[in-house]
């Protein structure tokens, strides 16, 4: 009997000890197992390549098209005003469904996913940020001046801006952040984006102890000199959620190659200059943000924001019980969510394009009539209406915005299987040629229309097989060692700037060295893109990009499908939410949010 008791006690002790040991952090610095990676879940654009215009890339897009409940586009704040909180500071808590897993980093230099950038947008101050229409708006910089040659940008910082710990934020902090972003030892994804700054390359390789194109004439002014004219530079540094400015006084002694592993980056960015501070991070559960008392702008009315980490099915249940106030809605759940009382559903056109990349190196895809046949063979309108619930707008070229550019219309490729067959016949298509369509796993809606596309291509005589692969395999076959026939995917921020398509269609940008995954090459188009970035006049730029759109529309190096809508559900107690053009930017006016 006593023996039994002893064993039971031993068992209990073991359990207790196991729990305790495991909760103790281990000593740092292993050899084989360090450092980073980047986690991604959002479509993204990179730097818009270099137009030599003097005007900042302006208003981007109007939500519109087939959005059933699209609210009117909201007014962009005036260029030199801080966003003002609409309601007086009232307190209150907002719950937002944030991610399905833990973030990779809270440091703007290292995060690559839209949801991480949402937090950074809330907690860090940036020189400028992006509005709901993907237009630059002032943040830490109250104004900026662009030299006529589009090579020198002068930012005037707001005076008396303080970090959350009360220390002043000056031009020194801005320069520190840019230096760390560019330094190769840091390994920031911003290094490439800021590579156009004069002297960046030398500094990146530690051949210079400062960046020659970066100077602070006084504590409130930062001057950036670019090596080449680039009118899209503001879009570059404001893109995503802006490059958050790091506190030099906190991080200056952290070795550049250790910044990524530092607590500030991995779990506790505890000194920042945004409207909120990160108060508490519970991995697997939530991130708690609290109002920053030292924020330079008007005090936000919401005192605490909880960003919850959970599966999206669970989040939808919590929307129904009111435990979360904001959820991104998959189109397959739209009807169900619409029936939930006290919830408003917003649906706006996104800046991305769903498409089928066609590997132009394959001999059987060389003839453009084959690629046109694919466009004609797919009943895109039918798919949008039946599978996507009408929540997408058809797209026929990569130029779909911004507002001044419009959406030039050429061949509309209306569903026409007879014409598709004709084109295939004219191009001597071999009916025995097998074509493999690569699809990344995990997207139910994409699987559904992927199967329809396969069927419709088979109907016109193209033997298509679907191959499901995970993202690691996609990256290997689409980028690292290109080897595929067709690849069904979506993403990009095409609507922000017409020059963005150069990334995907310039013949000098073939993967793995660049973003041209189809290996489509057209010298005439290369010339047009070169002209486009060298032209300042907006009317002339419009002509050039219309010409580009026309060429791509005719060549269809990839099969354009549609631009899907971003759909969000918001509880009615959540006030002040204004749907942005880009889902990852939904926190763009967070300072104006309120709760009832």
């Amino acid at each position: 009997m006593t023996k039994r008791v002893v064993y039971l006690i031993l068992l209990a002790l073991f359990t207790f000890a196991a729990t305790q040991c495991a909760s103790q952090p281990a000593a740092p610095a292993p050899a084989a197992t360090q450092a980073p990676a980047a986690k991604q879940e959002a479509p993204k654009a990179t730097e818009a390549p270099k137009p030599a215009a003097t005007q900042p890339p302006a208003a981007t897009q109007a939500p519109a098209a087939k959005a059933t409940e699209a609210p009117k586009a909201t007014e962009a704040p005036k260029a030199t005003e801080a966003p003002k909180a609409a309601a007086p500071a009232a307190g209150g808590t907002l719950n937002i469904h944030w991610r399905t897993d833990n973030p990779v980093s809270f440091n703007p230099l290292f995060s690559t996913s839209g949801s991480e950038q949402q937090v950074e947008r809330l907690i860090f101050g940036a020189l400028l940020k992006m509005s709901d229409k993907l237009e630059p708006i002032p943040d830490l910089a109250e104004k900026w001046d662009i030299a006529p040659d589009a090579k020198t940008y002068t930012f005037t910082l707001r005076k008396n801006v303080k970090f959350s710990d009360g220390q002043p934020l000056t031009a020194d902090d801005v320069i520190f952040t840019f230096e760390r972003a560019i330094d190769k030892r840091v390994g920031s994804i911003w290094a490439g984006r800021l590579g156009g700054i004069e002297g960046a390359a030398e500094y990146a390789d530690q051949k210079a102890d400062k960046i020659s194109g970066l100077e602070a004439p006084d504590p409130n002014t930062v001057r950036v000199k670019l090596a080449k004219p680039d009118a899209a530079f503001l879009t570059t540094i404001g893109n995503f959620s802006g490059l958050g400015i790091l506190p030099k006084h906190v991080l200056k002694d952290v070795a550049p190659d250790q910044l990524k592993n530092h607590r500030f980056s991995t779990q506790a960015p505890n000194v920042s200059a945004g409207a909120y501070i990160l108060a508490n991070y519970q991995p697997g559960q939530y991130v708690e943000l609290r109002r920053n008392d030292n924020y330079f702008g008007a005090k936000p009315s919401v005192e605490r924001i909880f960003l919850k980490i959970m599966a999206s099915d669970t989040a939808l249940a919590q929307l129904q019980t009111g435990e979360v106030d904001f959820v991104k809605v998959p189109v397959s759940e739209l009807d169900r969510v619409k029936r939930i009382p006290n919830v408003t559903v917003h649906s706006v056109n996104s800046p991305s394009i769903s498409q089928i990349a066609v590997y132009n190196e394959r001999p059987f895809f060389k003839d453009k009539r084959v690629r046109q046949a694919i466009m004609f063979a797919i009943d895109r309108k039918g798919i949008v209406d039946s599978i996507l619930g009408g929540q997408a707008a058809l797209v026929n070229s990569p130029v779909i915005g911004p507002e001044w550019m419009g959406q030039p219309e050429f061949e509309k490729y209306d569903f026409n299987p007879a014409k598709a067959k004709e084109l295939l016949k004219a191009a001597n298509w071999d009916p025995n040629q097998k074509v493999e369509m690569m699809v990344a796993t995990g997207d139910k809606v994409q699987d559904a229309y992927g199967a329809v596309i396969q069927q419709q291509l088979n109907d016109v005589g193209m033997k298509v097989e679907i191959r499901q692969v995970d993202s690691a395999e996609v990256n290997r076959r689409y980028i690292q060692t290109p080897d595929y026939d067709l690849f069904l995917f979506g993403g990009g921020v095409y609507r922000a700037e017409p020059s963005i398509s150069a990334t995907y269609y310039l013949s000098s940008n073939f993967t793995p060295r660049g973003g041209n995954g189809t290996h489509y090459s057209n010298p005439q188009l290369d010339q047009l893109f070169a002209d486009g970035v060298a032209t300042a006049d907006r009317a002339k730029r419009k002509d050039i990009y219309t010409q580009i759109a026309k060429t791509v529309n005719d060549d269809v190096p990839t099969t354009f499908l549609w631009s899907p809508n971003s759909i969000y559900a918001v509880t009615n107690r959540f006030k002040g939410f204004k749907p942005p053009a880009y889902i990852d930017n939904f926190v763009w006016n967070a300072e104006e949010w309120g709760v009832q």
């Binding site: 495991a22 050899a31 980073p36 697997g284 669970t314 993967t511």
Partner: protein, 320 residues
């Protein structure tokens, strides 16, 4: 006995090394790596191959697999599980955050399984072929057959959305001061969903092993001595009926740490299961290795515990 336990623990060391070699080999063979697994094609193409190579080198992924394994083993032997390849936090810290919630959920589920499974199993053995026996058989079959994710979602729908008496998910109400009652309410649904699934096999085993025992001669002797029926069943029969059950229960112990992946996902429970899933999708080698290591240790320990418990319940068993 102590010598026996020590010997078993020593034998466990080569077993553990073997387990780590196999798992390290398998995860290295899977396509991709922590850098590329988490990027989408757009990002990959715009960040460029140099950036990707640089990131891989920073993780030590430029070295050959055997070298990486030996380096990992050396650190692990000294108690250093390394840094996550994804979010770069110490792996030990990541596990530490998760093991508490997982143990809480699993112990609650195990208790429910024991308290539901064994009494029902014994009752249906004692009252064999009664309506109670049939009902418990049927219920057990249902509990095994209904998948956990369905039961979980159905439970959320019924108790959280329709009746609104329990919270949908999470471990506590976020943003409120911690309270035992609140945490208990959050624990109920996932613990029952898990516990009932574990109770089902226990009912079957408890029933059959009890049936075997109550027809033995010594039970008849006990009755002949004039002992009350309950004393006969609970003191004389049950003790022997429990022996095979110990194996079953001990085999469930590793899940205490491994976590219930799907249930944790559905109920947003911040445990080891959700950590394991995201580590595998992110090709987070150090985290995967640590989870595997802990699971292997748990399996070895629980089989040891089972053997020791045999000696405790059955005086005929001796280890020398």
């Amino acid at each position: 006995m102590l010598v026996y336990i020590l010997r078993r623990l020593l034998i466990a060391i080569p077993v553990l090394i073997g387990v780590t070699i196999v798992t390290y080999g398998f995860i290295s063979m899977a396509p991709g790596d922590p850098v590329t697994a988490l990027l989408d094609p757009e990002q990959m193409s715009t960040l460029g191959p140099d950036w990707v190579e640089q990131q891989k080198a920073a993780l030590g992924l430029d070295k050959p697999v055997p070298v990486r394994y030996v380096l990992w083993l050396g650190e692990a032997a000294r108690g250093n599980l390394g840094y996550s390849a994804v979010d770069r936090r110490p792996v030990a810290q990541k596990l530490g955050e998760r093991i508490g919630p997982t143990l809480r959920l699993m112990i609650a589920a195990l208790l429910i399984a024991l308290l539901v499974g064994i009494p029902i199993g014994i009752l249906s053995a004692v009252k064999q072929y009664s309506w109670l026996d049939y009902v418990s058989n049927l219920a057990g079959l249902a509990m095994i057959s209904i998948p956990g994710f369905f039961l979980g979602l159905a439970a959320i729908y019924l108790f959280a959305l329709k009746l609104q008496i329990l919270p949908t998910a999470g471990m506590a109400t976020i943003g409120e001061p911690p309270s035992l009652w609140d945490q208990f309410r959050h624990l109920l649904l996932p613990a029952f969903v898990l516990g009932l699934a574990e109770a089902a096999p226990l009912i079957r085993y408890a029933r059959s092993s009890m049936l075997e025992v109550i027809h033995q001669e010594y039970v008849r002797v006990a009755r002949a001595k004039g002992l009350s029926e309950w004393t006969v069943l609970l003191v004389h029969a049950l003790r022997n009926a429990l022996i095979p059950l110990i194996t079953i229960i001990a085999l469930q112990l590793p899940t205490l740490v491994g976590g219930a992946v799907i249930i944790e996902q559905i109920f947003a429970w911040p445990g080891m299961g959700t950590l394991a899933i995201s580590a595998i999708f992110g090709r987070d080698y150090p985290t995967i290795m640590a989870i595997n290591l802990i699971s292997a240790v748990m399996i070895i320990l629980s089989s040891l515990i089972a053997d020791v418990m045999y000696a405790v319940v059955d005086p005929r068993v001796h280890y020398n």
